[in-house]
Amino acid sequence: MNGDANPTHQSVSVQVRGLRKSYGGTEVLHGIDLEVASGEIFVIMGPSGSGKSVLLRHIIGLEEPDAGDILIDGESILSEGVMDKHRMAMVFQSGALLNSLSVADNVGIYLREHRLKNSAEIDQIVREKLELLGLKGVEKKLPNELSGGMKKRVAIARALVIEPQLILYDEPTSELDPLIAVTIGQEILNLSRRIHVTSLVVTHDRDLAFGIADRIALMHEGRILAIGKPDEVKRNTDPLVQRFLTADFKPQLTEAV
């Protein structure tokens, strides 16, 4: 990991321009436009089904847009070789660890499959990354022997091995208890500060979003409703934005008989 490397070489900027996507005639993304600066933690919030994860899958190249473009450091990802040129990683909502491989094999898979290091070096890097995320001694375990929080951290460790310039997190705190969720949020923040990586986080966890974001975008039904610094988004007067930001559980009180 080049933690001390020049930040401008480490991270990349992302621009999404007029992105549209339909599945079976239903438009899921209605022309998304946004810019993420190099080294920024950019959080995309919104209710379930608003198209956040679909947007993320487009940015990492798992989906092809019907229209529009995505630029990484000014180059379209649809152009030949651009995806190979930049190191990007994604932490999936489920972790998406390979269940048949041990934790160590999962974390080292990128280096092993691309023949980038020898076996001893891979073992060393894997140990370092796991220790960085507080996962010492789990190398030989299988993913199904880990808790939800540990799986997420292993997934982050796997992403870090790539030495990414851009990390995409899909719902990193979903299905986690508040304490683990805070730990994961801290890790995202620490990594961003330590290795200057650009981070794009999709979540509907308001505490996480306002706790770590440099900027926030709020999505609803495939459109961006608001975008700006956390304070600016909080002050946004759009009723849908306010409804999402202030939604709370209030038990209905019945009058005493």
Binding site: M88, F92, A96, L98, I109, R115, I162
Partner: protein, 247 residues
């Protein structure tokens, strides 16, 4: 149906294009070979023993009735080589190995493991499909030769022990040596290789196309087995017809 065949052909083509990188995947091929052998060897042995036995049992009395009992060894030998060993082993492998390939790859697709590989620039065809197709293409012909040998033994045992046939083991294997030629064995090996590639490609295609949750995985497994068996039986006719030119 035509779309499915097209998708299988595309996967076959991509797998063939990936073969120059096979050496890098040698450990995965070895793992798959071990799994295939481990899962099917005992079953293949049992199945072949009884198939050889039952052909001898069915045809022996009839041949004896017409004074042809001396040819029974050759008849069992040729039937095992050219038809029964390749087809029965292919059906067995489609059920045991094809289903597990479709289930494993299907579950990886559903649980985003294949997406995770793609984000790490690891080609799922190199990582998952190539080792499986190569392993099954090596394992099935070997299993078929093993099946032929065990089937002959099964036939010989029945002939020697059945009172209506009365053929000694020596007479059975004498007739077998006289009638069965090396090209008959190769006929079965060639057939089984074609069946193996078919099972591998059909099962991996179904696995990679899995959508939905556990129900989707179940659907893919069923489709992989049914489509493989249908393809085996259809191809069997055409390959047999083609190989007849070399007889």
């Amino acid at each position: 149906m035509f779309q499915s065949i097209g998708e299988m052909m595309v996967l076959l083509l991509r797998t063939l294009q990936a073969t120059p990188k096979l050496w890098r995947e040698k450990h995965k091929v070895a793992e798959q070979l071990f799994e295939i052998g481990n899962a099917s060897l005992l079953m293949a042995c049992l199945l072949s023993l009884f198939i050889g036995g039952v052909i001898a049992l069915q045809s022996g009395p009839l041949l004896a009735k017409y004074g042809l009992s001396g040819s029974i060894g050759g008849m069992v030998g040729v039937a095992m080589c050219k038809e029964l060993a390749p087809v029965m082993m292919a059906v067995l492998i489609a059920g045991r190995i094809g289903s597990s390939m479709a289930a494993e790859i299907g579950s990886m697709r559903v649980y985003q493991e294949i997406d995770a590989l793609r984000t790490m620039n690891i080609n799922p065809i190199h990582y998952l499909v190539l080792p499986r197709v190569v392993a099954i293409s090596v394992a099935l012909p070997m299993l078929v030769v093993f099946s032929m040998l065990v089937g002959w033994v099964g036939g010989a045992l029945v002939c020697a022990s059945n009172e209506h046939i009365h053929i000694t083991r020596e007479a059975f294997f004498g007739s077998l040596r006289q009638i069965v030629e090396f090209k008959d064995v190769m006929n079965g090996v060639v057939k089984s290789f074609i069946f193996a590639v078919t099972i591998g490609v059909v099962s991996c295609t179904q696995g990679l196309q899995t959508i939905g949750g556990p129900r989707g995985i179940g659907r893919s497994v069923t489709k992989a087995v049914v489509n493989s068996i249908v393809m085996i039986l259809l191809l069997d006719y055409f390959v047999t017809r083609f190989l007849m030119y070399f007889d």
